[in-house]
């Protein structure tokens, strides 16, 4: 009973020790640089198509639904741009990107490291004299921190573009009206807030996935469990961080 109560505390301790060991090995650039570049491509470049697809549809759907809700009111059409653009910048671009990447990137990292653990590849790295945490964990977390904001900016642009496109195509409002509305209530802090969120989400998703994968136990079943837990827990902590940042920074 006591063990079950202490297990979450032990997990939190192991998580922070793992991250401490990862970041304290930042000086070993030669160990992680190659992997860092590879991971930036896998996390960032390879995620562009799915992020673009999700952002474009989110922006378009948001525009159509906002127009639908305002169709009988006396507010001007430009208000659609005032709603869609901040919504994308403040919330949707970052959160939707994070949810997609929790599945795509988080699950892949956990499965990859978990398989390396159960097939003794991590032990093999260690007995060669290599710091496996510096080699495997650090480049993935750093790549997440660097590439998530890039994907966020990309999602914002595509999402707003999707909104403008559907507004024009559906005759809801013109591009000029959309942009005019976006400018009306634009706050310079909005994109910065989104960037802060995306850095935080990138860190959460990659670090949880690395932790789950690195400490995988058992065979194929253990890898499956780690992968599922990485995706689910990343989403939960992304939502918690989303709320915490909104309360703290807005």
């Amino acid at each position: 009973m006591t063990d079950r109560l202490l297990a979450p505390l032990e997990a939190i301790g192991k998580y922070f020790i793992l991250l401490g060991r990862a970041f304290s090995s930042m000086g070993e650039v030669r160990t992680y640089w190659g992997n860092f570049v590879t991971q930036m491509v896998r996390i960032g470049v390879d995620s562009v198509p799915i992020v673009a697809l999700a952002a474009a549809f989110t922006g378009a759907v948001l525009t159509v639904q906002t127009a639908y809700q305002l169709q009988e009111s006396f507010v001007p059409n430009t208000i659609i741009g005032s709603i869609v653009v901040p919504s994308m910048m403040l919330e949707l671009a970052a959160v939707i990107t994070a949810f997609i990447l929790a599945g795509r990137v988080g699950a892949r990292i956990a499965a990859e490291l978990g398989t390396m653990r159960v097939s003794e590849q991590i032990d093999a790295l260690e007995v060669m004299g290599l710091n496996s945490i510096s080699f495997l964990i650090l480049p993935r977390v750093l790549a997440g921190i660097v590439m998530f904001p890039v994907l966020y900016i990309f999602a914002c642009l595509i999402g707003i573009g999707g909104g403008i496109l559907i507004a024009e195509a559906g005759g809801l409002l013109s591009t000029t009206e959309f942009v005019e509305g976006a400018r009306q209530f634009y706050q310079p802090f909005d994109p910065y807030f989104g960037l802060i969120k995306s850095v935080t989400f990138g860190f959460i998703i990659t670090s949880i996935a690395c932790y789950k994968g690195y400490y995988t136990q058992g065979g194929a079943e253990g890898v499956g469990q780690s992968t599922t837990e990485a995706a689910v827990q990343s989403c939960v902590f992304v939502l918690l961080a989303d709320l915490a940042l909104a309360i703290l920074l807005l």
Binding site: R30, T31, T115, S119, E120, Q121, D123, A124, E126, V127, M128, G129, L130, N131
Partner: protein
Amino acid sequence: MIEIQNLHKSFGTLDVLEDVSLDIEDGETLAIIGRSGSGKSVLMKHIVGLLSPDRGRVLVDNVDICSVSYQKLREVRKRFGVLFQGGALFDSMTSFENVAFPLQYFSDLAADEVNNRVEECLSLVRMPDVGPKKPAELSGGMRKRVALARAIALKPKYILYDEPTSGLDPETSNTIDDLIQHLAEEMNVTSVVVTHDMHSVFNIADRAAFLYGKTLHWVGPVDDIHARKDTVLDSFVTANEYHVGTPRTASSPS
């Protein structure tokens, strides 16, 4: 020289090793034998510091690897080559890249020297043509031989083998035994072989250490195994021969 002194290890409530002491002399080939679950692999993992003992210590060339810093432990580990049970090859890399990997990180060799060394190692394990193949394209025996090539790439002082012949057919097992013997003689390495294959033990080992009931039950020259009238050891050896059948003859590389 490797000295294991009064080593105790348990996992939760399960005691695995109790008061195990063992010296491994330079240049010898020692087989650690015992039933499945007797703690052979656990003992091997202590030798390279992959596990920490609850009590006791492990000295490698007079360095207590249980109490040194991680940095120092990594230095000590560079004296070891380890052949893991499944090979533990990096599946995202080709065989050539696997063997080149430790050389790229821990040697000052130029690119063409690395290439030469990789080819030399693959030839030593009689796998000169598998360089471009990925581990998934290799059979179990081939994977172990490539893993062995990787283990010897940096010319280690000690090579540890975890169940090198398990899951292999008798002919491939003979090839692996032959390689272990060949490397011990050619490179003058100290070899520690964790196995329950008594044919391998008689083929390659100078001494054997028998783990039974969490402790080291017997240590001695391989030639003394049959001479010593020990019921437990006899039972293990006889059962092994019964299961495997006719003992393999002199090794013949495939």
